[in-house]
Every structure is written in structure tokens, then in C-alpha cells.
């Protein structure tokens, strides 16, 4: 009765395999981690049923609203995250110093930076990294431009220097 429409972006057979396995593995790991009960077959069985239900529902949702996420993140994620973490720590201290300064030395700027990433996931990681770093907030992601509000000139220069952009790019295309 409720036939799902064939979405133009529905998952093709090639992508389904690895994505599905990744989803099932993540969900199973989370269940075991949350549950902490491993000697009760009933609970484990219910866990398996839950995972099956969630996977079914997720695939249904993805088929309804187009769902090509492009999970092409390379192993560079492992080197990207610590770098991002360190950037966040540095930026935190900078913003904290500005806030605690009695003169409140801010110089807000609005800048537009290019978003050369290929996949939506890459764009989202880039935009979210900018937001996560205090001192810069991504305002609007549209087409291949990203509107960024920066608290200070230094923060704006940091984004314009494009180091983060290069790192996300490299992570996106495993080479």
C-alpha cells in the first residue's frame, strides 16, 4: 500500500555492502557498550532484534529522503581529529583571553570562504569544524561557498589561510 518511491539517489548495490556492515558493527558495539549484560541470552537476542529493526528503519528512511552520504573518509580521520582538537584548545584560550580582557578587544568580521569538498559529508565536517573552533561560526553553507562569522581578525585570517580546508580535503580523498 505504501510503496516507497524509487529515489534517484537510492543506495546502489555497490554502496550497500560496506555501509550496511559499518552500520551493523557500530550499532552492535554501542549496544554491547550500553548494555553491559553479556550472559543473558534473552537480552542479547532482543539486542539483535533491535539492531535489525533500527537497520531496517534507517534504510527505509534513507530510501525515502535521498541518502547518498558518500562515506569516503580515509584513514586520515585519525590524524585530523587530534589536529582539530589542538586547534580547538588553542582557540578556546584565545577567546577566553578576549572575554577576560577588560577592553573586550573584538573585531567581528563576515567572510566567505570556498568549500571545495566533493561530498556533503566533507562539507559538513569542514563547516562543523569551523563552528567547533571558538572564534569562528559557520553561518550559511550554500553551493560551494561558506559564510563565516569571525570574532577577531586573527580568527578570520585563520580560516582564510585554508589549512583546515586542505586537511579536510586530504581526508576526504584517501590518496
Amino acid at each position: 500500500m505504501y510503496d516507497l518511491p524509487p529515489s534517484p539517489q537510492s543506495l546502489s548495490g555497490k554502496e550497500t555492502g560496506p555501509l550496511l556492515i559499518a552500520l551493523v558493527v557500530t550499532l552492535s558495539a554501542l549496544w554491547l557498550l550500553w548494555s553491559g549484560i553479556y550472559d543473558n541470552t534473552l537480552i542479547l537476542g532482543l539486542g539483535a532484534c533491535s539492531i535489525a529493526f533500527v537497520v531496517w528503519m534507517t534504510r527505509r528512511m534513507h530510501r525515502v529522503a535521498e541518502a547518498k552520504a558518500g562515506y569516503t573518509l580515509g584513514p586520515r580521520l585519525i590524524t585530523y581529529l587530534p589536529w582539530l582538537g589542538w586547534e580547538i584548545v588553542k582557540a578556546n584560550f584565545q577567546v577566553a583571553r578576549i572575554i577576560l580582557d577588560p577592553k573586550l578587544p573584538i573585531s567581528p568580521r563576515l567572510i566567505r570562504v570556498p568549500v571545495p569538498q566533493q561530498t556533503d559529508l566533507g562539507r559538513v565536517i569542514y563547516a562543523n569544524s569551523i563552528t567547533l573552533t571558538p572564534g569562528t561560526v559557520s553561518l550559511d553553507l550554500r553551493g560551494d561557498g561558506l559564510l563565516v562569522h569571525a570574532l577577531t581578525h586573527e580568527a578570520a585570517e585563520g580560516v582564510l589561510s585554508g589549512e583546515m580546508e586542505r586537511r579536510v580535503n586530504r581526508m576526504e580523498r584517501p590518496s
Binding site: L110, N128, L139
Partner: protein
């Protein structure tokens, strides 16, 4: 030796995280307009929450006799499950935080919320705002 070092580290992380929360809140009080306040609001969401949760993770530690007796684990003597739960909690916070901030800022921008200060330098090629309704 290691123990007291670890203890000191937990202390620093917890108190430092709380300090960043307070600084962020003070910043939100002091900064002049909505957009600059979002920058201050990022402090508690990133380093504030991060340091506190990291401190708690160190406190419960990783102790690997993980299987069995899951329901009756106690805190304070190496509790892997709690540590891992805190880790997922931190990851969730770091992933959803910027998304909701972005949704909020984007909504404010679309509704034409303006800068309080005279005129921030606008390097953007399109500086038109949607009409506020």
C-alpha cells in the same frame, strides 16, 4: 607517584573545564550582539564539557575485566563501561553541538538579526539579508 599525578591531572581537568564554562557564560553576558555571543557559547560546549568529561573518564579509568556482572559495576575502581559511555557522550556532544549552533545562527541570519556594532567589516560578496518577517 603515578596515582597522585593522575589525581592532580583529574583535578586540573575538572576545575579547568568548570572555569571554561563560567568564562563562556561571562562572555555571553559581556559580548555585544547575538553573533559574537555564539563564539562565547562555544567555550562551554567544547573545552568546558570536554575537559570535565575527560577528567571523569580518567577518574573511572579503563579496567578490562569487562565481561560479566555488568549491572553491578561501581564507580571509582576502574569502570570501563562508564568510561566508554562518557566517551560516546562526548562524541555526541561534539557532533551535535555545532549542528544546532549552525541551525540557530542560520535561522538568525535568515531572519535578519543585525550586528549591534556600527558596521562590522563585511568581506562577503553577498551581504543581503532576507527580509525579517
Amino acid at each position: 607517584m603515578i596515582d597522585s599525578l593522575l589525581h592532580a591531572l583529574v583535578w586540573i581537568l575538572l576545575v579547568g573545564g568548570a572555569a571554561f564554562c563560567v568564562i563562556g557564560a561571562v562572555g555571553m553576558l559581556r559580548l555585544p550582539d547575538f553573533y559574537t555571543r555564539t563564539h562565547a557559547a562555544t567555550l562551554p560546549d567544547t573545552l568546558g564539557a570536554g575537559m570535565i568529561l575527560l577528567g571523569l573518564m580518567l577518574q573511572s579509568g579503563l579496567n578490562l575485566p569487562l565481561l560479566g556482572e555488568g549491572a553491578s559495576l561501581r564507580i571509582g575502581d576502574g569502570n570501563t563501561l562508564v568510561t566508554l559511555k562518557l566517551l560516546t557522550l562526548l562524541l555526541f556532544l561534539l557532533a551535535t553541538g555545532p549542528a544546532s549552533t549552525h541551525a540557530l545562527v542560520k535561522a538568525a541570519y535568515a531572519r535578519g538579526i543585525r550586528w549591534n556594532q556600527a558596521s562590522p567589516q563585511d568581506d562577503s560578496s553577498d551581504s543581503k539579508h532576507a527580509d525579517p518577517d
